[in-house]
Symmetry: C2
Amino acid sequence: MTLTKTEEDYLKALFHLSLENESDKAGTNQVAEYLGLSPASVNNMLKKLKGKDLVAYEKYGKLTLTESGKSVAVRLIRKHRLWETFLFKHMNFTWDEVHEVAEQLEHIQSSKLISELDKFLGHPKRDPHGAIIPNEQGEYSLEPHITLASLQVGDTCRLTSVRDSSVPFLQYVSRIGLALSSRIRVAEVQAFDGSMTIETEGNAYTVSKKFAEHVFVEKI
Amino acid sequence: MTLTKTEEDYLKALFHLSLENESDKAGTNQVAEYLGLSPASVNNMLKKLKGKDLVAYEKYGKLTLTESGKSVAVRLIRKHRLWETFLFKHMNFTWDEVHEVAEQLEHIQSSKLISELDKFLGHPKRDPHGAIIPNEQGEYSLEPHITLASLQVGDTCRLTSVRDSSVPFLQYVSRIGLALSSRIRVAEVQAFDGSMTIETEGNAYTVSKKFAEHVFVEKI
DNA sequence: TATTTATATTAGACAAAGCTAACTTTTTAT
DNA sequence: ATAAAAAGTTAGCTTTGTCTAATATAAATA
């Protein structure tokens, strides 16, 4: 079954939202917000995807991807991340530039191209944002998602990946000298709003709680 | 102005047909045939493209691309041929496999990606079918299109490029041992139907006139 | 529990790009 | 020069994916 670009975008949205929500479910309005569409449009498309057995839900109920829908989504994410890696490593793109073009490239249909690209890149495990790339079978490890925001004063960590691929966020991360593998020490946390002062490479920066929640780390 | 994939496909079709016809013009039915659509659909789209000043024509008259339309088409052809080159040289695609995927890749919008790809490939002059790749400014040389069919008994030539990118044609070319730069000698020509017997690498094959008209050569 | 708010659905309209069938204009051939 | 054929156009319908406005259900709160 061949899906349209639009159908693929819905499945990917559902996959991402399911991961963020508890219990692998998402809501119509949430999908609409995520894709920048009206709830009516989303409802309309959901009917079609349900008919194709890619999404499961009861009227007025929460949405889940079926196994088949999940598999399509994971393959898309694999393609997206492989293309991001290609753009970053071979086309001189910066990490804030790769997402937009990969959004287009992920819809190219050619299994040969993807397996060759994977080989060409040396079967990379992570994309330029540190996100894990699912393998050819669609398997991927869900690593512990510890955010910078969960650390305490005095803790030291290493930046493993970022939650957001948006240009403003990534440029901000770079601006304060952070990148994948950066070592970070938490110097201060404000009880008032959770903002924290961090040290990296000898410099100190104060960042909001929201920011810290978008940075994944491993403690060291 | 951003064009849809569909609009781009029409412009590319018009460009190719204009080159094949005398006087850089094409007809509605011809475009319909080329794209596998009904003349009515084509007429419909032509109105839109005329409104955007990409195509020029009078009612019931022949079609030409405007300078602006030509420029869009050439940029698409450049992208198509660069992607074909990439697939062939780095993704282990054969020359009969590249066209289909390049048809998709040519619609990716990113000028940075194309200029980086060009650099990555070493600014190639020709694609895997021997076709000339327009440069960044959209300039390209129209080389003399001498076909194998125009040669006489005893002439010797080298295969420079092929007119057709279809899988059956390219597989046939390969099957009889021909590739870019192959040396060919014309051993015999039938006055009856123009079919010709050619020698290459010590083997002889008889091919139709139609076939010979799809093979571009330079005399040696 | 009753009411308000949030979420989800339906109905009806629209634009893009396709189609068929009918019609008009141009070209070709008798 | 006229009739037949080919090419181009128009009208009206279809599908896909979007929208707004109105309505129905579920969840939250008073």
